[in-house]
Each structure stands twice: as C-alpha cells, then as structure tokens.
Symmetry: C2
Subunit: 351 residues, 2 copies
C-alpha cells in the first residue's frame, strides 16, 4: 500500500439518522410530513416523459426559481436552489465563512453546522442556549466571521421573535447571518421581510418539511442579489447541474397549490398543540415548539428507556446522546392517529 | 454595506455551456445521447407514487448501489454514487487531493478539473498533451499529490490503451489516480479490471452519456473499499441525502436493460465512424475519437466561422476559446438524420 492516505481529508464520519423501513412502523424520527405532497405533484409526475431525461436539466433551474420568486415576491436573482437545504447551507458555509474569525452558532442546534465547519476547516464557536433553551440575541456580539441559527431552533423547536432575529442581524453588519428556516411554515414569523433592510441576511428554507417533499431534495436560499451571485459563482465551480429534471418540475408543481399547503400545515399545527396537552398530562415537559416536532423530557422516566420502549413497538422517535439534551426525545408530529398510537404506547411504557 | 465581503470565497465564475431551447434546433453541443433512456425507465417513471416523496430517500442509495455492484461485478462497498459525475469527482477532489503537492492533469482536458482545484484551493500542474493530442504516460512521473485524466480524453475523444493507463497508476503508488470514464462505453477499455491490482485507483463513470440520463444527474465511482469509505465520510459531512427518490429508482431501472444499452451505444459508434468519413471528405481533421463526439478542425475555414454558420441554422456545436484548441469544434454524435443535416449545413457554409 502506498502513502496516498497522507493526502486524504479525514473527517469524523457523520452518521445520518436511521431510516427504518418496516411495513407497520410509525416513523416520527426525521421530521417528515405525514401528508403526501399536493395533488398537483402526482399529476406532474404522471405527465413526465422519460424521453426528456436524455437532455441536461437547465443549470439555472429557471422554472423552479421563477415559481419561488413569484411565491415569495422577490426577484429571481435573489434565489439560490440546491439539493435540499443541506446542499444550500453547505454551499453558503463554503462561500461566506471563508475568514479567520470564528463562525457563531448555538451549542444546541442542527448538528450539521459543526460538521460543515469541520469538513471545510472553518473556525467556529458555539454559544450556549439559556436554561430554557432560548437563543439570546445579546450573546451574538462577539467578534465573528459569520453567524447561523435555525428559527425555530432544532431540535428544541423554540422560536425567536422577529425583534430578536433582527437584533442579531443588525448587530453584525460585517458578517453574513444565515437564518435557517427549515421549520418556519409551522407558525414562526419569517425573516424574509428583513431582506429589504439588511444586505447581510440569507434566509434558507426547504421543501422537505412543510411541502412534504423530503424525498425530492429541494432547498432554497433568499438573499440580496450580490450574496446570491457569490453563492452561484461557487456552486457553478462545484457542480453546475445539481437539480435534476424531476426536482425542477415537481418542485414547481408543489408551489402551485397554496390551499393544500395551508391545510396540511394547519392540521400539523393543530395536532402539535393537542400533542402538547397529551404529553403534559403524561408528565413530559418541553420548550414551546413552533416546529413539526416536540423536544420532550419526562419528569421521572429516562429518555433512553422511553426510546427503547417505543422502538420495541415499532414507533421511531429521535434520541441525541449529546451534552445537555441526553434526556430528551425529539418526536415528529404525525397524523392524529399516529400520535394516538404513540400516546397509547407511552401509557404502557410509563405504567 | 458592511465588510462581510471580506470573508467571501471569491472564485472566477464558471459559465456552463449554453443550453439552447428551440423547437427546431439540432443540439450537438453537450454530448447528450440522441436516444431516449431504456423503455424500462418510462415504465418505472409511470409507476412512481408521489405519496412516497414525503419520505427522505435512502441516504446510502442501496437499491442503485446494489444494481451497480451486480452490473459491474464488484462489492457494494466499492461503489460511491453522486449527483452526476461532477458531484462524484468534486467529492473525490475534496477527499483525496488534500496534500501540498500539485495534482496533475492534462493541459487539454475536461475544463472542470481546474475549476475544482481553484475552488478547493488545491495546487495543480497541467501536463501538455503531445502534438497529436495524446496523453503520454511517461510525463506523469513528477512528484504529485494526485492525478486525474479522462479516458477517452475530453474534448479530444482520444483514448489511451490499457497499458498506458496502468503505467500511470503503477508509477504513482503514493497518489490516488482518478480515471474519468464518462465516455468509456463508446468503445474504450475500462480501467475497472485494474482495481484488483491497485488500491490507489478510482474509476468514475456516469449515466449522462451512454445511458441517456443527463437530466437525472447520476454518476458513480468504483474503487477499493477503503478509498470509497474515505469519500463517503466526506460526503456524509457535506450532504447525506444527495440522491433523490427518482434518481435511485430510475437509475436502477436504466441498468436492467442491457440489450437496449448495447444497441444504442453501437448505433452511436456506427454513426461516429460514418461521420468521421463524411467530415474527412469535407476537409476536416481530428483525433481518432472513441467518445460520442468528434473534435474537428477544418483545413481552411476557421472554427469560429463554422460555429457561427451552424448556429445561424439552429445547429449547435461546442467551441472552446482556449489556447491550442481555439480552431476546433466539438461535435456531439447525434442520430444519422441529425448528422446528415449537419453535413448539409457544412456544405453550404464551406461552399
């Protein structure tokens, strides 16, 4: 064996969450939407012609970008699309976090921020949430080379108010501030209106949660034109054709049906609020989630025990073995029926 | 405006080749396959259920990986899949070319190698092709941190014999050697059999050309398990879910119909050989291409003039304004009818 290994970029391998695949399972572990995509998506899928697949997709994904621009009332030149919001944020890290000062993000947050910083050798510093798992805007005044946080935060589900978000952006005019709004459609105010006031803001959203399209891998960022152009330049230097034809075509179709979108997100919000009551009754406490999941801890029974008990009953939730949160479970909001099955199982486990 | 721009990774923006979209055009500019994907792909597409799109795809793309493993008679752990071979090679650059010594590749080759090296800040050195546009294995003995070349080469189409490829790999046991076989199915011997002898070899192929699926973005690499594991570790630190559900499902379907695959590649090879005669008759010369394109220069009329003349007639070929090749046109092999239309147009332009 030669010494080619010396030149290898070695990273601590990130292990994606398990994707169990059992016919009778209740899958509440990866924040998927329990409802199918809008009916127009099936129609679009059925209309697709495999013959077109021989041709490259449009590298600019113009059809999808224009549909997003119409929907969010911004210019197409303010939109960047990618293979899920992971691709979009990874590209933003590579583009905007290229300085020597540390990038700031919360200590309890989306675990990929740390992973991207490691793989791209970006210095970073985590800022602890307060005792109630809240992001405190006044903590984000340290010298930094960029800031990213989700709103609502993951895996806590806690949302910051618009004033708090604006404070962080205003305090840091020399940094790009990325607000990761993967879960924003379940009841949090978006930072999008702030784009008119701040040129250092990048808002990232996804089709994976509220639009029921995790399987299609579609994410997007909205920011000022200059910011987006810098991202495009890097993206076109990595892979010009990231969005395949089905993504562009079905993504556009998913945006057309706003009534369906409002109905399904409303149903998930209602189920979430009901689930909060049901969990409270059973001795759980949690931050006031505005996402499509709850991050809950039981007053007497350990998270691991509950996790294992649910798993035995083919109900999958997410457990993170990490400091400060190792007694919590992240429970995706499913249908009412799925949640009832969860509560029934909890009644057995907690008995 | 703040100074956030100081932290931006600024790259020379890569401009992807034009993707014209006119109903009557003849598109011979991006090496797409003139034939549709195998009939099984349309069947698979019609069988897809949009309801499944709400669920994340399998991060390991196991169905596609196993189909590839069966097809190429290797272990699934020897296979890496990505969003087109661009994604695969970009990930290989990030993973394997992490040293301080320059990476080597030909001066006339796939233009993205230079772009990836720039975006990832990888030192590199280009090695000139000889006067007949050939890669000379003995030139690849300089100290290096990795090697990549396409076989057949692009945009020349010239293939290296298996001994030459093996010589480069054997000479460089301390470097990862990537053989980019995007066009290998049109009549070149693959380096895959060498995997049994060398642990520093990575072979990259794509569904975009010979499998008529440019629009789906599916590429893959085959190498020894250790090499693949290093790539997976980096990939899982960038984006765990790169392959969407249609890619995995339709990619697998495309591999099932070997007879269709052989028939369409054979037809393209036949058309290419006929096109060589027709171009020679008209005063063109070119390297002996083994790809689905010809790289041709006319004895008296400039490439730019021919390019513009064809364009006016809605026939698109590719022109590269780069040293040593600025009097050449890269012409994709279309159907016999498309090529006849090209020759008719050339007869008018050269008259």
């Amino acid at each position: 064996m030669g010494s080619w290994e010396d030149n290898v970029r070695k990273v601590v391998p990130y292990v994606p969450g398990e994707q169990p695949n059992q016919p009778d399972m209740i899958k509440l572990n990866t924040n998927e939407n329990p409802y199918p995509p809008a009916p127009g998506v099936q129609k679009a899928l059925s209309a697709m012609d495999a013959g077109q697949m021989r041709l490259y997709p449009d590298p600019a994904s113009a059809d999808l970008v224009h549909a997003l621009a119409d929907h969010y009332q911004v210019s197409p030149s303010q939109i960047f699309v990618g293979v899920g919001s992971d691709d979009v944020i990874s590209m933003a890290f590579l583009t905007f976090f290229h300085g020597k000062k540390p990038v700031l993000f919360p200590d309890i947050t989306y675990s990929f921020y740390e992973v991207w910083a490691d793989v791209y050798r970006i210095p970073y510093r985590t800022i602890p949430l307060d005792d109630q798992f809240r992001i405190c805007p006044e903590d984000y005044t340290l010298e930094n080379g960029g800031i990213i946080f989700p709103n609502p935060n993951a895996p806590t589900g806690a949302a910051m108010n618009p004033e708090g978000v604006e404070q962080i952006i205003r305090q840091n005019p020399d940094s790009v501030v990325i607000v990761d709004e993967a879960y924003v459609d379940f009841g949090t105010a978006s930072a999008l209106p702030l784009l008119k006031k701040y040129d250092n803001l990048l808002v990232v959203q996804t089709f994976s949660k509220s639009r029921s399209m995790a399987g299609m891998r579609i994410g997007f960022a909205i920011g000022n034109e200059k910011l987006i152009r810098f991202m495009q330049d890097v993206k076109y230097s990595v892979n010009s054709y990231t969005m395949n034809r089905p993504s562009i075509f079905l993504g556009k179709a998913a945006l057309q049906d706003d009534i369906y979108f409002r109905n399904t997100t409303r149903k998930i919000i209602e189920t979430r609020e009901w689930a909060k009551d049901e969990l409270r009754k059973r001795g759980f406490h949690f931050a006031d989630s505005k996402a499509n999941f709850l991050f809950a801890s039981h007053e007497t029974v350990s998270a691991v025990k509950i996790f294992e008990g649910l798993r035995k009953r083919h109900i999958y939730v997410r457990y993170f073995n990490r400091p400060r949160i190792d007694n919590y479970l992240r429970i995706t909001i499913g249908t009412k029926e799925q949640m009832q099955a969860l509560f029934d199982a909890l009644d057995e486990i907690l008995r």
